[in-house]
C-alpha cells in the first residue's frame, strides 16, 4: 500500500481483563433478562424485547470480544453490509409472502378513478 509504514497497529490495543469480564456479565444479565421476560405477558412486545436484547448482546460481543471497537473502518462496512444484505433477503421475500392475499385494488378504488382524482388534486 502506498506510503505504508510499520507502526504499532490498533490490535496491539490490549483490552483489559476487567472489560472482558464486564461484557461477560452484561451478556449473562441479558440472557437472564430475556428468559425472565418470556414468563411475563407483554403480548406482541415479548418478541420485540427478546430481539432487542439479542441484538444488544450481539453488539457487545462484536465490539469487545471481536475487537471491532478498536478496529474501525473496513470491518464495520463488512459487518453492516452483510446484515443489510440479509435484510434485503428477508424484506423482499416477506413482501411477496405477506401480500399474496391482497386485493388487486384497495376497496372503493378502481383505476378509472385515478384521472378525476388527479384533476381534483392538481387544479
Amino acid at each position: 500500500m502506498s506510503g505504508h509504514t510499520e507502526h504499532q497497529e490498533h490490535t496491539a490495543h490490549v483490552v483489559p481483563i476487567s472489560t472482558y469480564v464486564g461484557v461477560f456479565v452484561v451478556l449473562l444479565i441479558g440472557t437472564a433478562l430475556t428468559t425472565a421476560v418470556a414468563y411475563i405477558d407483554l403480548g406482541r412486545w415479548n418478541t420485540v424485547v427478546a430481539l432487542v436484547i439479542a441484538v444488544t448482546k450481539m453488539v457487545f460481543v462484536i465490539l469487545f470480544f471481536m475487537h471491532v471497537k478498536y478496529n474501525p473502518g473496513l470491518t464495520r462496512i463488512v459487518i453492516a453490509g452483510a446484515f443489510f444484505w440479509l435484510g434485503i433477503m428477508i424484506c423482499f421475500s416477506m413482501a411477496d409472502e405477506l401480500t399474496r392475499g391482497w386485493e388487486y385494488n384497495p376497496p372503493g378504488w378502481s383505476p378509472g378513478l385515478i384521472l378525476p382524482y388527479l384533476f381534483h388534486f392538481l387544479f
Binding site: S2, G3, H4, I88, F92, A95, E97, T99, R100, Y104
Partner: protein, 545 residues
C-alpha cells in the same frame, strides 16, 4: 510443458526462468501456490466442463430437428437440458473469467506478487474439481431432470433422478466461488502496489471486485438452499413441503436470491475484459472511467433486488411483482452506461481488428440485444406471454454466449501471449471469431421468434409449424460448434510452436504488460511504483512506450 524457444533475437527475457518452467513435474503443478499456475489448472478444468455441457447442447439441438424429437425420449431430453444448464452455469460460466483470467491477472494488474491467500486459492481449485466430480457422478448414474433451477416440489418429492448428488456437487463448488471471491476482495483491498490508488486500477479489477462482492454475498444462500433441498429429499419432509405448511415459492425466493446475481457474476467479468480490449484496440483512454467503475458496483448491488422477475408467473404476489419489475428496469441502466462508454471510447479511436477486438465488438452488439430483450421480460405484462418460452432462452443465451463467452474468448486471445509467452495465428483467430458470430446468431435469433410465436422452453417436441426455425437454430449450433473447435487447434499449435511474444505484443497499457511473457513466478523483478492513470495511451500517434 515445452520450454524450447525457437529463436531468441530479442533480449534473453524469453529464455529466462518463468512460472511455467520454474519447476517441473505433476506435483509441482498439483501442489502449486502460484496464482498463475492455479489459473491454468482452472483453464483446463473448465475447458473440459464446457465440452460436457456443450455435448448436452449438441444432443438437444439434434433432437429438436424434428417436431416429434429426432433423437431422445422426453424424459431423456429433460435430463439433457438440466445437465446442460447445471454444467454451463455452475461449472463453466461462473468460474470462467474469474478463476482463469481473474486468478492470473489480478495480482499482475495491481502490482502484487500473488493473491492474499495462495493456499486458499489452491484449495478453491480442489473444491471446484470435487464439486464437478460429484456432478459428473450424477450425470453418469442417471442424470438430473429437474432443470438447473431445481424447483420444488418436483425436486424434493417426485423426481427419480440424482438430485441429491447434483445438489451436493453444486453446494461444494459454491465454496470454491466463495473462497475465490474472498481472496480477490482481500487482495484488491490490501495488496495494491504503491501509487496504485483505487481510481488508477484497470477497469477489469473494478469488475472483478464487483463480481467478488456477489460471490461473497450471494453464493452462501444457494448453498444453504441446496442443503435444505437435499435434506428434504432425504428425510421426505422439510421446509418446502406444503403438507406441513411449506411454500414451494420460498425455494424459488432463496434460489433466485443467488441465481439472479449469479447471472451478473457471469457477465460482469466479461464487461471488465471488454473495457480492457476496447481501450487497447482503440489505443484510447476509456471514456468516463468513473462511470464504468461505479456502474460495475451499481450492477452488483442492484442485482440483488430484482430476483422476483423470475417468478412473475409462478404465484408471486402482484405487489412484489411490481416492485421487482421496476427494479429490473433500473438494473439495466448501469449496463447501458457501460455500452455508451465503450462506444464513446471507440469514437475517434485508432481501431485495429485483431481477434480480441472482433470478440469485443461482437460482445457490444450481442450483449445489447440480449440486454434490451431483458426489458421485455422485466415488463410484467409482456413477461406473462414470453415467460417459459424460447424468448427467454434466446435472451439469456445472447448475454451468456454472445456476451460472456465471447468476452471470455476475447480475453483468452488478448492475454494468451502474456500467459504462454507465445503468439497465436491471428488470421485463424479472426476466422474463428467470425464463424462463432455467424453460428451464434443463426442458432439463437430464430429462438426469439420461436418464443414470441409460443414455443415453450424445455420441450423436446413441438408443433410442426415451428420446425423451420428449429432446424435453422440447429444448423447454427453446428456452425457454432465448429467455431469453438478451431481455437482449440491453433492454441495447441501456438503453445508448442508459436513465435515468442515480447512483454507487450499489443502495445497496451497496464502493469501486466510491463513484465516478461510468461511472467516470472514472483510476477515482477521489483514491485512497480504507479504514477499514471489507467489507459494512458498517447493521444497523438500510434507508437507506444
Amino acid at each position: 510443458m515445452s520450454t524450447a524457444i525457437a529463436d531468441v533475437h530479442e533480449a534473453p527475457a524469453e529464455s529466462r526462468v518463468n512460472y511455467l518452467n520454474a519447476t517441473y513435474g505433476l506435483k509441482s503443478w498439483l501442489l502449486t501456490l502460484d496464482h498463475k499456475r492455479i489459473a491454468l489448472l482452472y483453464l483446463g478444468t473448465i475447458t473440459l466442463t464446457f465440452v460436457v455441457g456443450g455435448l448436452a447442447a449438441v444432443l438437444m439441438r439434434l433432437n429438436l430437428i424434428e417436431p416429434q424429437g429426432a433423437l431422445v425420449e422426453p424424459d431423456t431430453y429433460n435430463k439433457l437440458f438440466s445437465i446442460h444448464g447445471i454444467i454451463m452455469v455452475f461449472f463453466f460460466l461462473v468460474p470462467s473469467i474469474p478463476a482463469t483470467l481473474g486468478n492470473f491477472l489480478i495480482p499482475l494488474m495491481i502490482g502484487a506478487r500473488d493473491v492474499a491467500f495462495p493456499k486458499l486459492n489452491l484449495m478453491s481449485w480442489y473444491v471446484f474439481v470435487t464439486g464437478a466430480a460429484c456432478v459428473m457422478y450424477a450425470v453418469m448414474t442417471g442424470g438430473v431432470d429437474t432443470g438447473w433451477t431445481f424447483y420444488t416440489p418436483y425436486s424434493t418429492s417426485y423426481a427419480h433422478t440424482q438430485v441429491i448428488a447434483a445438489a451436493v456437487g453444486i453446494f461444494i463448488a459454491g465454496f470454491s466461488s466463495i473462497l475465490t471471491g474472498l481472496n480477490f476482495l482481500v487482495t484488491i483491498h490490501k495488496m495494491r502496489a504503491p501509487g496504485m490508488t483505487w481510481f488508477r486500477l484497470p477497469l477489469f479489477i473494478w469488475a472483478m471486485y464487483a463480481t467478488s462482492l456477489i460471490f461473497v454475498l450471494g453464493t452462501p444462500v444457494i448453498a444453504v438452499t441446496l442443503l435444505l433441498l437435499a435434506a428434504e429429499r432425504l428425510l421426505h419432509v422439510g421446509i418446502f413441503d406444503p403438507a406441513i405448511g411449506g411454500d414451494p415459492l420460498l425455494f424459488q425466493h432463496l434460489f433466485w436470491f443467488y441465481s439472479h446475481p449469479a447471472v451478473y457474476i457471469m457477465i460482469l467479468p466479461g464487461m471488465g475484459v471488454i473495457s480492457e480490449l476496447i481501450t487497447a484496440f482503440s489505443r484510447k483512454k476509456i471514456f468516463g472511467y468513473s462511470f464504468v467503475a461505479f456502474s460495475s458496483l451499481g450492477i452488483a448491488i442492484i442485482s440483488f433486488v430484482v430476483w422476483g422477475h423470475h417468478m412473475f408467473v409462478t404465484g408471486q404476489s402482484l405487489y412484489a411483482g411490481l416492485v421487482f419489475s421496476v427494479l429490473s428496469f433500473v438494473v439495466a441502466i448501469p449496463s447501458a452506461v457501460k455500452v455508451f462508454n465503450w462506444t464513446a471510447t471507440l469514437y475517434k479511436g485508432s481501431i485495429s481488428y485483431e481477434a480480441p477486438m472482433l470478440y469485443a465488438l461482437g460482445f457490444i452488439g450481442l450483449f445489447t440485444m440480449g440486454g434490451l430483450t431483458g426489458l421485455f421480460l422485466a415488463s410484467l405484462a409482456t413477461d406473462v406471454h414470453l415467460n417459459g418460452t424460447y424468448f427467454i432462452v434466446a435472451h439469456f443465451h445472447y448475454i451468456m454466449v454472445g456476451g460472456a463467452v465471447m468476452a471470455y474468448l476475447g480475453g483468452i486471445h488478448y492475454w494468451w501471449p502474456k500467459i504462454t509467452g507465445r503468439l497465436y495465428p491471428d488470421l485463424w483467430a479472426r476466422f474463428a471469431a467470425l464463424i462463432i458470430f455467424i453460428g451464434f446468431n443463426l442458432t439463437f435469433f430464430p429462438q426469439f421468434m420461436l418464443g414470441y410465436l409460443g414455443m415453450p422452453r424445455r420441450y423436446g417436441i413441438y408443433p410442426a409449424e415451428f420446425q423451420v426455425l428449429n432446424v435453422m437454430s440447429s444448423a447454427g449450433a453446428s456452425i457454432l460448434a465448429i467455431g469453438y473447435v478451431i481455437p482449440l487447434i491453433y492454441f495447441y499449435w501456438s503453445w508448442n510452436y508459436g513465435p515468442p511474444a515480447g512483454p507487450n505484443p499489443w502495445g497496451a497499457t497496464g502493469l501486466e504488460w510491463t513484465t516478461a511473457s510468461p511472467p516470472p513466478t514472483e510476477n515482477f523483478e521489483q514491485i512497480p511504483i504507479v504514477t499514471e492513470d489507467a489507459y494512458n495511451y498517447p493521444t497523438a500517434d500510434v507508437a507506444s512506450e
